[in-house]
Each structure stands twice: as C-alpha cells, then as structure tokens.
Subunit: 189 residues, 2 copies
C-alpha cells in the first residue's frame, strides 16, 4: 500500500510560506527563497532529492486554497498523478494534461481512501499546510519529509500548527545536508 | 570576542518545552523526552555534543522564569560560568558553588555587554525562549545551535515566536545525525 507523505520545505522557525499570500505571490513575502534548493541546481544532493519525490508520486491530496493558488502556475496537476482536492464545493472532475483533479467532499478520510486506491503501490503526497494538519490529527499520515531551510521568516504559514495536543512520536530515517537545505525524513510511529 | 549562542533542544514542531510548566515539571508535559539524547548515553555523537557545549561556556544569559524554575534543580549556576539573569527586580548578586548570578535590569543589550566582558573569548549561552527571542529581535545573537528531536509535541513553549517580521538569514555550519536527535548549527548572517 502506498504511504501518505507530508512533504514540505520549511524555514527553521516552522513556516512553509511567508505572509500575504496572493495569486501573484503564492509563496508569500520572502517565501520564495525556501525553494532556492529546488531551482539553484548547483548541488547534486538537491538535484537527486528534487528528482526522487516526483518519481514516486502515485496520487496527490491538496487543499482548495493550494489548488486555487497553484493551478495558474502548474497549468496541469502538480505532479503527473491523480490529484484529490478537499473542498465543500460539489464539482465535476477536471481533466488536465497529465492527469485529473477530483473534488472530494467527504473530508480527509475519504480523500486518503480514494488517493490510496489511485496510487496503488506509489506514494501519496500532501500539499497545503491545512490538509497536512488534518491528516496528522487524524493519524492518517505515514511519513514526514522536510527540507529545512536556513532562514527565520518570523511570520507566514506554519506547517505544524493546530495538530492537536497529543504527542506524535517520529523516527528519523534519513538526514542529508546539502549546501542549501537539510533533507530530513521521518517515519510517524 | 565570545559569541552569543542560542542553543536549545526543539521538537520538530518548534517547541522547547511541553505545556503546563511548573516547578515540579520544568520541561512541561511531554517535554522531558526532548532531552533523551542528553541522558540516554548510548550514542557517542550525543555524548560528544553534550560535552562540547559546557566546555566552551564563558557566560550565561537567562530569563527570570528559567532562573526560578531551574535553581532548585541546578542548586548552582546552570554552567560553571558567570550567569546574568534578565529581570525588572533589583537584587544583589547571588554567589553559588561554581559561579554567581548577577541580576540585570538594563535589558538584553546590557546583559550581552556584561556577559561578553565576563566570558572573554568563550561562548555566551542563552537560556529561556523569551530571552532568545529578544536577542534575535535585537540582532544580538551570533549562532543558533539546535538539537532537533523526532517528536511533534503539538503544544508548549515555542522557541521561534515573536521574533519580528524581518527575515533572518542563516548559514548551516554543521549537521550531525545521532540515533536520537539531529544536531544542527547555524551562523546568523
């Protein structure tokens, strides 16, 4: 069965985007630099890591806000895999170039169920802090993959916020330092 | 000149202590496990790291709350070095076994000045999230040393909170993974 992976680039102070996110500035003020490791291209480690993730993606679960902000940039599904958008809106599936968006009204449980069926043995990637938090609270996530960026943003969208008051134990399964970012991987116990 | 080092063990979701801190439970609920790496003793990396810090401490800056909570446990200064307590209270220095507490009413600038004079070439260690935040806001810290613990606490005392809305750029200078914790070191640019 495919694993549900919460995967983000996060500042050392816990933000995955800067403040004042808008369609023109989807990463928020100062947030763009979080993805330097993806676009710089100077480190072989970063290039390997950037390739590793998409190759294993069998399905995507994303929030409505991420969908709205991302679609004009992607002009496709974010990865070439079935993508499930959590929303209260009833809407027909949207066929894109490499795959389709399906709109889920039944909450994260339903999204995970459908994503797992679609992904078969491959991974299910989570996009959007709010969806990640819902999955962590519902104990439906299997792994956390973080690229920890050497910056304190001071404000923005926190990844780990409102994830409940129960301690979640992790096991570090990989730590690789590149010149631009720390690649961390955890199994959720 | 000695460096001002913000050094903490932090959960992956950014907490340095659990909720409901009390004199009997200075690390808060669930917070004790953050320090497993210090007390477990099974990893040579962790043992080396635990030894490295105290050996270089020339002075300590701490908050009044950390002082009040810590004193009954330490029954001494937290490190064998002059220790400067930020407080509004006027109070005579308190001589302990290995060094003394001096009470500073002039804010972080004054504390750093006096700590640097006392530490000479050695490092100045910061204890207490609130003091660390004040030093980061005032741009008086030189390095951040973190032990990143593989756990999500969900609540407690956040290390990086209220540090202002200006981006602080860092440079990773060391990453070492032990079985229990990720040792990270950053220069503040």
């Amino acid at each position: 069965m495919g694993k549900v992976i919460v995967s983000f680039t996060m500042s050392l102070d816990g933000f995955i985007a800067g403040p004042n996110i808008s369609p023109e500035d989807a990463m928020g003020e100062g947030g763009e630099q979080l993805h330097d490791w993806l676009f710089d291209g100077s480190s072989e480690i970063d290039r390997d890591m950037a390739r590793e993730m998409p190759a294993n993606v069998g399905a995507v679960i994303l929030g409505k806000r991420t969908f709205d902000l991302g679609l004009p940039h992607w002009e496709d599904t974010p990865f070439p895999a079935p993508s499930f958008v959590l929303t209260h809106e009833k809407r027909e599936p949207l066929k894109m170039k490499s795959s389709a968006f399906t709109f889920i009204n039944g909450g994260v449980e339903s999204a995970v169920q459908q994503a797992k069926a679609a992904a078969s043995e491959k991974d299910i990637i989570v996009m959007g802090a709010n969806v990640a938090q819902q999955l962590l609270r519902a104990k439906l996530a299997d792994e956390i993959v973080l690229q920890l960026a050497p910056v304190l943003l001071g404000q923005g969208t926190r990844l780990f916020d409102g994830i409940g008051d129960e301690t979640i134990e992790l096991k570090n399964t990989r730590t690789i330092q590149s010149p631009l970012v720390t690649h961390l991987r955890y199994q959720i116990l």
